[in-house]
Symmetry: C2
């Protein structure tokens, strides 16, 4: 039942602050690798190093393996190359690749130079793949066998392997050219007669991906087909490696985080937000868009200075007109962005989607416009309350209708042109909706109040 | 390589529109179950029914199993109870529970009444668990054995099972009282001598969850421990079932979607957004908060009518002052909400987080405030441009600082009080930031321009 406490315990942090190394050692001995790792993920790299020092040598690799790759990379970058190489040598290859992929070139050379030559070569090959593709995720460790071998051969191969991948429950059949021709689950091997040919018991219809398949697509396939692992092949169908479901689980979480942060214009990784400079760098750009849009709004609105001078109450309702639009726009664009990401947007029925969102924006706009207009009576001195009310009501409705249309169409159009629809949908939609909604509102005022 | 096309093909939709049943049948024969299912997920229920009619009987359960539970439930709800029962009888129990959990009471009774009594009882028991807990996710099908049995016994048990769960790669050891005492992987069984006792080869330290463990926690545990399945036990440690990694993958995606939608105040499930009425129902509430906030802003700002009357240019910069605040607020709250969700926020170092976010807001605010103030020279007729510039600059900086503070602290406080921090953080933060930012801006104006 130990596991159910992974999230909340932060005892290491408290003990580190108290500087009590004896209690720290005792606590570390009591906790499992994952519990320690999940706390290390939330500590400074200095504190991480202190904890590593206190851990027995044989536990260090296990703990690092259970850490997030971002934080593990921070830690590894601080170790002497010698020490880093010794540690990484104990980890599974795909984890090493994920960690080393985040370390700078110079340090990487130093660490690779201290590893066994074959290992270093293998790592360099794997590091050459884009980290966001199947190639970047895959592990080169898997069981393969000829389709002409027997079930007994396959079982002895598994029995003889001293350090098999932990989740090795499949044996892949490859022909003489290395091409993937089938797969046998360990269960299938156990229930078949040892003398049977692999060819006769294997599943021939193997779902596979190529090394350049985007990791989001890999996740979609593993999730849709309920796979525990998916083989990675090259353009000739030659098997290169295996992506396992535990790595896919990490990808799904990372991609969801990336989408959420991108939509808000707050970067792509939570790790970037860990430092002032990292945060500043990823955020200023999207704010630039908002500032430019807002300045454009100021300049456009300056054309309405007479309207404002004669009916100052118009200004009081600007925040609510723009804000209601911004909120509806975010609702619409969030639904479309997420729907596109998980394949749950009626891509074939775009027209219906747009019509529904726009009519939602319009109806919600009329209802809320009416409610807000009622408040306008309280503040509109020196102006016909009915007219001011009409401007506020129709202005809100118009702003919300425009917002629903912009919020729905922006991500759809980006997707059509192959641009990630999550990219700063938030800042873009809210800013453009502000500008358009307010111009409409003031235009209404000049027409209806007759300024 | 068929799998790499799951996302984009929408051929069924085209053929359904054309009404060409012969080509539809041919296409269905060429596609695999998952390809068909992922298209059905994006079709009307009417079209789903037509496709089901055209599918051979034996493929229907496989296709329904590969569909999303939400859409499968829509489809099942439209079938005659007889037909629904026949279909569900072929699916895995945990999928049936997920589908039936979304169907209304009356129909559920009708379908259960047409199933085998034992199956119906088992389903009713499982349906009693909260669908967002381990109990609601688990499957009651798994291999269990006495720790006193031998490896050979375990292997024959697996060999004799005619319809084992697809991903059954573990055998759980339970004592005479049904308590979970260990686990053996199929690989361990294969490499051990058949005469060895399970007790001597099993792993005793089994990570487990209880039936009422929240599904988010289950996902965190499976992901952190890299498990393929996690056993579910009751308060006496008696084993009740098994949550498999493929279901966890779905949970992680659902939870991410839920967080994204909640933040935007756009409901919890994409399926809700499928209809006008569903969308309307989930959205109007959060807009009510925004409307109330906006109206409150209008009333508070009406106190500044003299300032506005004498310097109308102040109004032009309201959108950019409020908008920059809204954007920074969303950035901060998004980072905190997502960080809390994936356990990657320095919960133990909240003070540092708040200080960093607020200082980011202030520095970005001063920079952008300066840039926007430069534009104020262009529009500020009849007012000292330096003073107007100072108001715009300090107003923007103030609004952004307030926004960063509110955006960071709101989710942290909600989390501390046990409320889901994602709930409508968006509408709440943007609206409260609008109100506070603008009041600060006008207060500055009265002080600096001396109105």
């Amino acid at each position: 039942m130990a596991a159910t406490r992974t999230r909340k315990i932060q005892i290491l942090h408290t003990l580190l602050r108290a500087g009590d190394n004896r209690r720290l050692r005792r606590t570390l001995a009591r906790q499992d690798d994952v519990q320690i790792a999940s706390q290390l993920d939330n500590l400074d790299v200095e504190d991480q190093l202190r904890v590593m020092q206190l851990l027995p040598n044989d536990r260090r690799p296990e703990v690092v393996e259970a850490m997030r790759h971002e934080t593990a990379a921070e830690l590894v970058a601080r170790l002497a190359p010698e020490e880093a190489a010794k540690l990484l040598d104990e980890l599974e290859v795909d984890d090493v690749v994920d960690i080393l992929g985040r370390i700078d070139e110079e340090q990487l050379r130093q660490i690779l130079g201290r590893l066994d030559v074959d290992d270093a070569n293998e790592l360099e090959e794997l590091l050459a793949y884009d980290e966001n593709t199947a190639g970047g995720l895959m592990s080169p460790q898997y069981f393969q066998i000829s389709p002409d071998a027997t079930v007994g051969d396959a079982l002895s191969m598994i029995q003889d392997e001293e350090e098999p991948p932990e989740t090795a429950f499949y044996v892949y059949a490859v022909d003489v050219d290395g091409r993937l021709v089938g797969v046998c689950s360990l269960r299938m091997l156990v229930i078949s007669r040892p003398s049977e040919k692999i060819r006769d018991v294997m599943e021939r219809d193997v779902v596979r991906v190529t090394a350049d398949t985007d990791q989001e697509e890999v996740a979609e396939i593993v999730s849709r087909y309920d796979l525990l692992a998916v083989p990675v092949v090259d353009e000739f169908d030659v098997m290169l490696g295996l992506v396992e479901v535990d790595d896919v689980v990490d990808v799904i979480r990372e991609e969801a985080t990336e989408d959420i942060l991108k939509m808000a214009g707050a970067g792509e990784e939570l790790a970037e937000a860990r430092t002032f400079s990292g945060s500043f760098r990823v955020r200023w750009r999207w704010l630039l868009a908002a500032a430019a849009g807002g300045t454009a709004a100021a300049l456009s609105l300056s054309g309405f200075d007479e309207a404002l001078a004669s009916v100052p109450a118009l200004a009081f309702f600007m925040p609510v007109v723009a804000g209601m639009g911004g909120n509806v726009g975010m609702q619409s664009s969030t639904i479309v962005v997420r729907g596109l990401a998980v394949g749950f947007v009626e891509a074939s029925r775009v027209r219906r989607l747009v019509v529904r969102e726009v009519s939602l924006g319009a109806s919600l706009g009329l209802i809320y416009g009416l409610l807000i207009a009622l408040a306008s009576v309280a503040v509109g001195e020196g102006v016909d309350p009915l007219r001011l009310g009409a401007v506020v009501m129709l202005g809100t409705a118009g702003s919300m209708t425009i917002a629903a249309a912009v919020g729905t169409c922006t991500p759809l159009v980006l997707d059509r042109f192959g641009v990630d629809p999550a990219v700063a949908t938030g800042p873009f939609v809210t800013t453009s909706v502000d500008v358009m909604g307010l111009i409409f509102y003031f235009w209404l005022a000049t027409v209806l109040i007759g300024i």
